[in-house]
């Protein structure tokens, strides 16, 4: 085994000699340094290999000068040291490569020397077991950083460096005082010897002992930048050369973190608790302040501080928890550290490349997007990156130790962080034409409305603060058009390769960890989406033709579906068919696209597979992993839309919030896997868990109050994506409800016997109503459809919450039929939009002759949707009302009835405004939608007709799926279904309806014939309308204005307001918080001393 002394010895020797090497040639020091770093890395790797072969023989202590540990300074190499050093040295090596390969690299002379001393110092910090030696290495690290911060010779860097220097000096002073007193009290500086002592007994004779330890702790803690005494560090991240910031954040901070871990074994429990609190506060508040940040590097600074905060928290926790838990949670800290090292360094590097290439947006640079996505995702703790697994483990441990509050802190902080990181992402991805706004609901404003109503109109303003930030994140970057003409020359693929290595490390680590975590429960299959995604992205990067890729993907999905569906039954099978077959059919429409659409197919494929995985996951982890994958992938897909940056961000945040809520619920409810397996008589869960889980489901379904993300997401996404999201993905929420159904039977209030499901039912009913209302006033066709989906899912929620056989059958029935007709509608509309290039209904009209098949599809779907006979929707409504009345929910039935009446109003408009009326001039030469859109439509129509004629085809299997849960309440006789209240025969309804329609039609045609005069379509007499601009005179424009006036205050967007309030509050909280960062170095010094004093006072309270 290679002695660690070689790292320190040879490293320092080479550092000393570098000035001489420089005389041999300018490039020579670079090469030598890189080789040295490589050797460091290899040594560390060799340790890891060796140790993992014989874990019980380690850690090994290496002594200097041949005396045993307390007599001479010693170094220790164990698994954890080796792992941390591998990560640190690899990051340093990559940093070195980046520094020497980037454009106009000035990496030479003293910069290289200081770089090397920094790395050696960090190695020493990790290895040494002597408290004073630790101080010496700390100073090597600090001094190298102090000097490197200003190495770019910028005004602000000098300012930041000086502040850093002040803070560091105060920290060193604390540390030094602590060390000398600890020597006084214990007579040694060797950490292990002190740990072995009976510190409690020693405390009795030396009352100062705990303060000596506290000062040491404080010295290191300050170096770890605890909130609120960390302004100096953030300044440094912002002002120095990004490559240096990467080093400080990734390498320097990691060394200090490890040193902190090392001394943590001295902490008494009270101190450990203070450390936990400090870390938690730092994590949450740094992220909160980060929300307000518009300057990218400063934002990354806040993120760095927060990440370190969470690790500090874990280090404190491992002193408090039981020994097994402590090891578990410490392993998550190591993972988080590695995750932080590589992704934060990667982001700093990317921000540097941005400066160098003067980029503003990356929309057309796939590799950059991928790199950004990987780093941001891993920082935010999204699957499949390492931080996801680490946080999972952490939360599991915390849940077992009943530390719910900390879980909430962690998830809240993660949510904030995801918020600002992805705001940056969306800004970078944004198209030039994208206002970066949340969404642009088009509701005419030209009628007098009270001020309370205008909220609907300008729900754009709703999340104004967020949107404004989104617009200005990159303001400070040099403003240039998307692609600078010379950008091609400026690109430096070699540097990108360095960054790419970092991202590959992150991905590989994530996948390996995932395999490790999922292997325990035999759920390795769940990683398929990740593999597919990676392979697909590679295909795209290699420019595999779109259609070949599509066919491959569909074949893969078919195979997967075949394998999975074979093993499912009951409700799972219903949802399996819904998810897999439903999406597969819709994928056909992607065939229309000809050229490569980067990432489209891989992401859709992975999304569908993740949905499928929900069905086969057997544990909490597996379920949550698939759920999160689904969330992330669908928000990325939404982001592909041209103006979807705001909508995508909002979708992501709401979904993550929902997922975290669900996660807490799952954690409160340890028997979840039993529940997933359909065991119903589980012990009574806490009501809180039930609420949290159901919130998770309802966010995904877009239930009233949690629907804010929905319209923008469905409307601004690409058409195929909208279709998939609204018809398939939203059902995942329903699926969650079904598999956790028994939770909703518990009482809502401790006293009464009203179950939670009643509440859900009301929410469902009002969602249906609100969806219909919102849809009514839209001019934008996609918004209409979006709100319509929201309403429809509300019906399903209502039916589900009945908790009766008929209710469940209804819910599932509606889920399937909604999939059919909403997919049809979206696809038909997609075809229309594809041809007309506009989404405003009043800009269309008279398309019936141009697009007859689309017309028929829309007609059929809206008949199905609105619930009039004879199509499937009628069956759904019939079942729904029957079930509601059977249960005695008359009020809900009334609401639902009202909602469907309104639904008819907006649906009728789809036909009326788009397909009837006057054809626009510019649409005269238009053709029918492309065949790729039409095939799924025809298939869908056939299926709808089939189900309408023979409802038993659908209801039968659903009924059997539900039977294990409830006793049957409906009976079949032939094609007639009997419930307790009546019967329904699909065939008969069909014939009667057709009869009813044909008779008047025939009568009309016969009787009216002689009165009818054929006119040309462009005859102005027709419909007496002005055919052309301004559009506001179009008859379809603002069609339901009168209803708006009549409905008045009922339309006030309460939910939007509430969420606006939440966002504004959070935002201004962050804004207030950051006022403490005055910029004055002296104030920062005071904050540090005050922080120290307060911590010490707290500790004194503990004694």
């Amino acid at each position: 085994m290679v002695s660690p002394l070689y790292i320190l010895g040879i490293g320092l020797g080479i550092a000393f000699l570098l000035p001489l090497f420089e005389k041999l040639g300018k490039k020579i020091p670079r090469i030598i340094t890189l080789i040295t770093l490589m050797v460091f890395t290899l040594i560390a790797v060799s340790w890891v290999v060796m140790i993992s072969g014989a874990v019980d023989k380690f850690p090994v202590i290496f002594n200097t000068i041949g005396f045993k540990a307390p007599f001479a300074i010693s170094l220790q190499v164990g698994l954890i040291e080796a792992l941390v050093l591998v990560m640190i040295n690899t990051a340093a090596l990559l940093s070195g490569l980046f520094l020497s390969l980037r454009k106009d690299s000035h990496w030479e002379g003293k910069q290289i020397v200081l770089f090397l001393t920094l790395v050696i110092g960090v190695n020493g910090l990790v290895l040494t077991r002597d408290l004073f030696n630790l101080f010496v290495f700390l100073e090597i690290v600090s001094i190298s950083m102090y000097a490197l911060i200003a190495s770019n010779d910028e005004k602000h860097a000098y300012e930041a460096g000086f502040k850093y220097l002040i803070a560091g000096s105060i920290a060193s002073a604390f540390y030094l005082i602590g060390v000398i007193y600890l020597y006084r009290f214990t007579g040694t500086l060797f950490i292990d010897q002190i740990v072995a002592m009976d510190l409690a007994a020693l405390q009795a004779t030396h009352p100062g002992l705990v303060f000596a330890i506290a000062l040491i702790m404080l010295g290191l803690l300050i170096e770890l930048k605890p909130f609120p005494s960390n302004g100096w560090a953030i300044d440094a991240y912002e002002a120095s050369d990004p490559a240096v910031s990467a080093m400080i954040s990734a390498v320097g901070a990691s060394g200090v973190v490890f040193a902190f871990y090392k001394i943590s074994s001295l902490f008494p429990p009270e101190m450990a608790e203070i450390v936990v609190a400090s870390g938690a506060v730092t994590f949450v508040f740094s992220q909160l302040v980060g929300l307000r940040q518009k300057r990218v590097r400063r934002m990354l600074g806040y993120s760095s501080v927060g990440q370190i905060g969470i690790i500090v928290m874990i280090i404190g926790l491992q002193r408090i928890l039981k020994i097994d838990d402590a090891q578990m949670i410490m392993s998550s800290a190591i993972i988080l550290l590695g995750n932080h090292i590589f992704s934060k360094a990667g982001l700093f590097w990317l921000s540097d490349i941005f400066d160098q290439e003067q980029l503003r947006r990356v929309r057309r640079r796939p590799l950059m997007i991928v790199l950004f996505g990987v780093f941001l995702g891993s920082l935010a703790g999204l699957p499949p990156f390492p931080a996801f697994w680490a946080k999972w483990r952490m939360i599991t441990v915390l849940a077992e130790s009943d530390k719910l509050f900390l879980i909430i802190i962690i998830l809240l902080g993660s949510l904030f962080e995801a918020g600002y990181l992805f705001r940056w992402f969306t800004t970078l991805l944004r198209d030039e034409s994208d206002p970066g706004d949340i969404h642009e609901e088009q509701i005419p404003e030209d009628i007098p409305v009270s001020s309370s109503q205008t909220g609907v109109v300008s729900s754009t303003r709703a999340l104004a603060a967020l949107a404004e930030n989104a617009g200005s994140v990159v303001e400070e970057l040099p403003v240039l058009s998307v692609e600078d003409p010379t950008a091609a020359e400026k690109r430096n693929p070699v540097v990108l390769a360095v960054v790419a290595i970092s991202s590959v490390i992150v991905i590989a680590a994530g996948v390996l960890l995932g395999a490790e975590f999922l292997r325990a429960s035999n759920e390795l299959l769940l990683l398929i989406p990740v593999a597919v995604l990676t392979a697909g992205i590679l295909f795209d990067l290699l420019h595999l033709p779109h259609r070949i890729h599509l066919i491959l993907a569909m074949a893969g999905i078919s195979f997967y579906s075949y394998r999975i569906l074979m093993g499912l039954d009951g409700i799972y099978l219903v949802f399996g068919i819904l998810f897999l077959t439903g999406s597969l059919i819709q994928m056909i429409s992607l065939y229309v696209k000809k050229s490569l659409h980067f990432g489209l197919i891989p992401m859709i494929t992975a999304l569908i597979l993740s949905l499928g995985n929900l069905l086969i996951s057997t544990t909490r982890l597996g379920f949550f992993f698939s759920w999160e994958m689904m969330t992330v992938l669908s928000s990325l897909l939404i982001l592909r839309g041209r103006k979807a940056s705001g909508a995508g961000l909002r979708y992501l945040l709401f979904s993550l919030g929902g997922a975290y809520s669900m996660l807490i619920g799952l954690m409160l409810y340890p028997d979840f896997s039993l529940l997933l397996q359909g065991v119903r008589d589980v012990s009574t869960p806490p009501v809180l868990a039930v609420f949290l889980i159901s919130i998770g489901a309802m966010v995904k379904m877009g239930s009233l109050g949690l629907h804010i993300w929905l319209p923008g997401a469905y409307a601004e996404a690409e058409n195929e994506i909208s279709s998939l999201l609204s018809s398939v993905v939203s059902k995942a929420g329903l699926f969650l409800l079904f598999v956790t159904s028994s939770l909703y039977l518990i009482p809502l209030l401790p006293s009464g016997n009203i179950p939670v499901s009643v509440l859900l039912g009301w929410i469902g009913a009002f969602t249906a109503l609100a969806g219909a209302f919102f849809a009514l006033f839209q001019e934008d066709i996609k918004y209409t459809l979006a709100y319509s989906s929201m309403g429809q899912v509300g019906y399903m929620l209502l039916a589900f919450s009945l908790m009766t056989h008929l209710g469940w059958v209804t819910s599932l029935y509606m889920a399937v039929t909604h999939l059919l007709f909403k997919a049809l509608l979206f696809l038909a509309v997609a075809g229309v939009l594809y041809r007309t290039k506009t989404r405003m209904m009043y800009q269309m009209g008279g398309l019936i002759k141009r697009m007859p098949i689309s017309f028929i599809t829309v007609l059929l779907s809206i008949i199905a949707l609105s619930g009039v006979p004879p199509l499937t929707g009628f069956g759904g409504k019939w079942l729904l009302y029957t079930a509601l009345i059977e249960k005695g929910w008359y009020l809900q039935a009334g609401v639902a009835m009202f909602a469907s009446a309104i639904a008819f109003l907006y649906l009728f408009r789809l036909i009326h405004v788009i397909f009837l009326g006057q054809l626009k001039d510019e649409h005269r030469a238009m053709k029918e939608a492309p065949i790729g859109f039409l095939i799924p439509q025809v298939v869908g129509m056939i299926v709808i007709m089939l189900f309408s004629m023979y409802p038993s085809l659908l209801i039968g299997p659903l009924q059997r799926a539900v039977t294990p849960f409830f006793s049957e309440s409906i009976i079949w006789e032939g094609y007639t279904v009997f419930s307790t209240l009546g019967y329904w025969n699909g065939n008969a309804v069909m014939y009667v309806t057709i009869g009813v329609f044909i008779f008047p039609l025939a009568w009309l045609l016969l009787m009216q014939r002689k009165h009818t005069r054929m006119v040309e379509q462009f005859n102005i007499v027709f419909a007496a309308e002005r055919p052309d601009r301004p559009e506001t005179t179009h008859f379809g424009y603002n069609f339901f204005a009168h209803y708006r006036r009549a409905l008045g205050m009922y339309l006030t967007p309460w939910a939007t307001r509430w969420w606006t309030g939440v966002v504004t509050l959070t935002d201004s909280l962050g804004g207030t918080m950051r006022r403490i960062y005055t910029g004055n170095g002296q104030t920062y010094a005071f904050q540090i001393i005050l922080y120290g004093t307060v911590l010490l006072l707290l500790l004194r309270g503990g004694f």
Binding site: T64, A72, V113, L114, D130, G208, F1086
Partner: protein, 233 residues
């Protein structure tokens, strides 16, 4: 004013909390176990008369190597910050006006310079016998050069000689450390040379050698620091 009061309160709070550290600290009656061992066995084991040197160079040799590295990094840092091609605008040599001291000063300095050099060398060579050692000797050597600077401000030191001296002495220090690892009991072990008789110049193994190298390195580094701080932008 309120700010000052808050600061006073904070500092009072800090001292109040740390009172257990500051009060009732009587003189220790005896050495800690660790230093007891150093004191009783150190002379025999390493052959140094000055036990502080034994601790500095051997027992806590890694600290000292680190310390040299700290100084090295600081020198590099100062040079980097105040280096030659800076944006900060050009200022003429700040000692220009005082250039060319009196004849008396020049002569005095010329006489004193070698004396100081010798004295510095004496200090670090005798580090294992008398108080002082590499660091103190190094400073004395540096001060000899500082003296030259005071009287002849436009004097340019031969940087390549300085750099080579610094680099080679540092590398030699590390090399000796490694020789200890290979030929004696561990890294920085000075006992690959005979420890000799206590009190003699040539005793204590490689300790005088190490301290001399440290002296040269520290001296040249400090000259570098002073020189960088002096030179015009």
């Amino acid at each position: 004013m309120i700010k000052r009061i808050i600061i006073i309160i904070t500092l009072i709070g800090l001292s109040f909390v740390l009172l257990p550290l500051f009060l009732n600290m009587e003189d220790a009656e005896r050495l800690s176990e660790l230093s007891q061992t150093y004191v009783t066995e150190g002379a025999e084991e390493l052959g140094t008369a000055n036990l502080v040197t034994a601790v500095v160079v051997s027992y806590r040799g890694l600290d000292t190597l680190g310390e040299v590295a700290v100084l090295f990094a600081a020198t590099a840092g100062v040079t980097l910050l105040l280096g030659t091609k800076k944006k900060g605008g050009s200022v003429t040599d700040l000692l220009e006006e005082r250039r060319g001291g009196s004849e008396l000063l020049n002569t005095g300095a010329a006489l004193l310079f070698p004396v100081l050099l010798l004295f510095g060398a004496y200090i670090f060579v005798h580090g294992h016998l008398t108080p002082g050692g590499g660091f103190q000797g190094g400073v004395v050597i540096a001060s000899a050069f500082v003296l030259l600077l005071f009287i002849e401000s436009d004097r340019e030191f031969s940087h390549s000689v300085l750099h080579s001296l610094e680099a080679l002495s540092g590398a030699a220090y590390v090399l000796i450390g490694l020789i200890g690892l290979w030929f004696a009991a561990g890294f920085l072990d000075p006992r690959f040379l005979p420890s000799g008789e206590i009190g003699r110049l040539l005793s204590a193994g490689a300790i005088p050698l190490i301290y001399s190298l440290i002296g040269i390195k520290v001296g040249s580094e400090l000259i570098g620091v002073v020189d960088s701080l002096r030179r015009r932008s």
